[in-house]
């Protein structure tokens, strides 16, 4: 294998592994804020127990998110030196803003969130929880802005030629609010609320099935279900808007998402299917003219297909892009069903009698994770062969000085490290869940917390 494919595999692997954790942190961070706010308002010890339980889970996901995130910052330079030179001027500032504003906010308050019980007043602890959550939200802003700029570049001009060409910023806000950043940011945030929300629901449903920690599990349902209900429906809308942006700015990607080849013809929309890249045909169940209708409210409106693009200007792995995209959409629909019916049962007081629903919710923790990953794979593979859409090809973006054996070394090293990390993550998660939201020692009232805060 050559340096290009090895570097792509390495980047995909390390960023996909990283992306397990930050969405969980964003989602859990929001739930911590909700639970702690309820505790401050009601003084009911059960909310405090839920808050502390959530913080213990959060500590784990956050730690892994930070540890695996630094790798990305290094990899731009180690493996993609030409890319770094090309984009440095444009979104170096976005990354710097992330470092300063988001990351410091998050990490600065994290210490208080984790270790500050009894050292600060409850009000300040709550402020720290909000700070950590906002920090995680902000870091998504800058990173999604940078990625969206790669999809739909704006606010720049290109200086120099050939290998010396690089993009320079001319309008910061046009770069930040490039055509896809707002839509994609909303999509990423909602996906994160679903990831965190369904993790909590899964744990709560499992406790209810085993009739353990029932009081905490009920409160978890009471905050978790509304969050995923709103997020899953909003995600339907946000996904639609995001697809319209792709249609307008990245037509080759849109064509790949639905496996649409004919240069100018009405396009179908598939529920599932298989793309034969040789014969350029899709076999599957679809709505004829569905994509045309979605974009133009007219089932016979022509949509630009892959054949309209030169061979070297369109994505390679069309079937993979198609599958990832459809997995994401299918899971999105499933999550709408689960959250809506779950919320309905909960409001009717029937959730705890419905064994199959509790089992479904327990298993559902994997769904948002799969959808998040699949969505990113569709977005990034659909962007190929460009690393910056229409400007810089992935094959031109590599480090000139890096050799294949070096990438083999780092790839093997990090595969090993991440296998161990993942095993430890699962093991410790399981342990925390088995231990449950019970306090380690005989405390847990607001009075004792206040007492220790003042002493």
């Amino acid at each position: 294998m050559d340096v290009e494919i090895l570097s792509r595999i390495q980047f995909a692997f390390t960023v996909a592994f990283h992306y397990i954790y930050p969405p969980l942190s964003i989602g859990l961070g929001f739930l911590i804020v909700l639970a702690e706010w309820r505790w401050l308002r009601t003084s009911e010890a059960v909310w405090r127990r839920l808050t502390r339980f959530l913080i213990r889970l959060f500590a784990l996901t956050f730690g892994l998110g930070v540890a695996t995130g630094i790798v990305m910052e290094f990899e731009f330079g180690t493996n993609w030196a030409v890319y770094s030179r090309y984009v440095g001027d444009v979104f170096g500032s976005a990354l710097a803003a992330e470092g300063i504003f988001a990351f410091a906010l998050e990490s600065g308050f994290l210490g208080v969130l984790l270790f500050g019980w009894g050292r600060v007043k409850p009000k300040w602890h709550f402020v720290s929880a909000v700070g950590v959550w906002l920090g995680s939200m902000f870091s998504a802003v800058w990173i999604v802005v940078a990625n969206s700029w790669q999809q739909t570049p704006a606010g720049y001009h290109v200086v120099g030629e050939g290998m010396d060409a690089r993009a320079e910023i001319v309008d910061f806000w046009a770069m930040v609010f490039n055509p896809s950043s707002v839509e994609r940011l909303a999509h990423v945030w909602l996906g994160s609320f679903l990831a965190g929300g369904f993790l909590l629901l899964s744990i709560a449903a499992w406790y209810l099935l085993r009739k353990q920690h029932v009081d905490v599990a009920r409160k978890a349902m009471a905050i978790g279900l509304p969050v995923v209900l709103v997020a899953s429906w909003a995600q339907l809308f946000s996904g639609h808007v995001a697809a319209e942006v792709v249609a307008e700015h990245q037509p080759a990607k849109l064509a790949a998402l639905e496996g649409h080849y004919a240069a100018e013809a009405p396009a179908d929309m598939y529920l599932f299917g298989w793309v034969d890249e040789e014969s350029k045909e899709v076999t599957g169940l679809g709505i004829p003219g569905g994509l045309s209708f979605l974009l133009d409210q007219d089932p016979s409106a022509p949509v630009t297909g892959l054949d309209a693009f030169a061979d070297e200007d369109r994505p390679r792995q069309v079937n993979a892009v198609f599958q990832f995209y459809h997995i994401m959409v299918a899971i999105g629909m499933l999550l709408i069903g689960l959250s809506t019916y779950g919320f309905y049962l909960f409001r009717r007081g029937k959730l705890e009698q419905s064994k199959w629903m509790l089992r479904a919710l327990t298993a559902a923790v994997l769904l948002p994770q799969i959808a998040n990953q699949a969505g990113w794979f569709a977005a990034e593979m659909g962007r190929q062969p460009w690393v910056v859409y229409g400007l810089l090809r992935t094959s031109d973006a590599l480090s000139e000085s890096v050799r294949a054996e070096q990438v083999w070394f780092s790839l093997i090293l990090f595969t090993g490290i991440y296998v161990v990390l993942f095993a430890l993550f699962i093991y410790l998660m399981r342990k925390k869940i088995l231990h449950g939201p019970e306090e380690e020692r005989g405390e847990g009232t607001r009075a004792s917390h206040l007492e220790s805060a003042w002493s």
């Binding site: 330079g77 984009v87 320079e168």
Partner: protein, 342 residues
Amino acid sequence: MMGLELHTIWFLVIGLTVTLYAVLDGFDLGAGLLHPFFRKEQSRRIALNAVGPVWDGNEVWLVITGGALFAGFPEAYATAFSAFYVPFFLLLAALIGRAISIEFRSKEPMQWWRTFWDYSYFLSSLVISVLLGMALGNLMLGLPVDAQGVYRGAGLVEMLGAFPLSVGLAVAALYAVHGSLYLLLKTEDRLFDRVKQLNRVALFFFYGAMALSTVVLFAWNPEVIERLWHRPGFVGLAVVAFVASMAIPVLVRRRRYGRAFFVSAGMIASLLGLVFAQQFPFLIPSTIDPDGGMTLAEAASSERTLRLLLLITVIGVPLVGLYFLFVYRVFRGKVKLDDMSY
């Protein structure tokens, strides 16, 4: 702006973030280096929890430095990071290893589990300190970078020279000194006495490593001495660093631990000041380019971006300062273990 060019100002900003990183993460890396020399479980827990709430925030300065380099000097970022390919992946592995050692050690009570993480905490702290020192040493000597800014060397094997290795050792010893001074502020009783002993040992190693790297410079790399000699401020910085290194044991003997810690921070700052002064106006001196290497101006982003970055810095850094003051204030004083501790 006082005749300073924007890229020079940004160079100073990076100098500041590197210094903050070294001063802050330096003490928790140092605590990691001393960790296996505490014998009892209780001692190790206290030492670990002394850095527990702050190590992660300290490491942010490394992330900020990386971002600042990428944003302000993308050419240098691309060249240096691809040149240091293998050492930087080892560094990343050690950063991750260290993070999970700290996080996972306390999660199980078994002796073998805790001993394992104790040693991986120590080893990763050592690897990080030595690799960062070696990278610094190599940057001081210059890299085989051509006029286009492309690295033409053989990678790791070329970077194991005597000077970089001695700088790696010096950085590890320096962090051990710095970490021991921090722990003196955070510990009590017998553990405190033990830290005091270790402080003396670490100082001894530090003086040795500094002497070694100076000898190596005179013997094999006199051009670095030559460059340094002509820098304004060289004598001042060198005297400050020397006096500070001598003042530390005196202050410890007089039980002025807080002051000793700040003197140690000042020593780190002045040593880094020497490195940066030596480097200027090059970011990456070249051993093969007749022009001498990649200068600040050649590596820099456009003026517009640099101005933006300075704006972000001017707004952001005071905010970060506030978070840090808040956190360090909350966790001031001796370590008290509780049920959320590591």
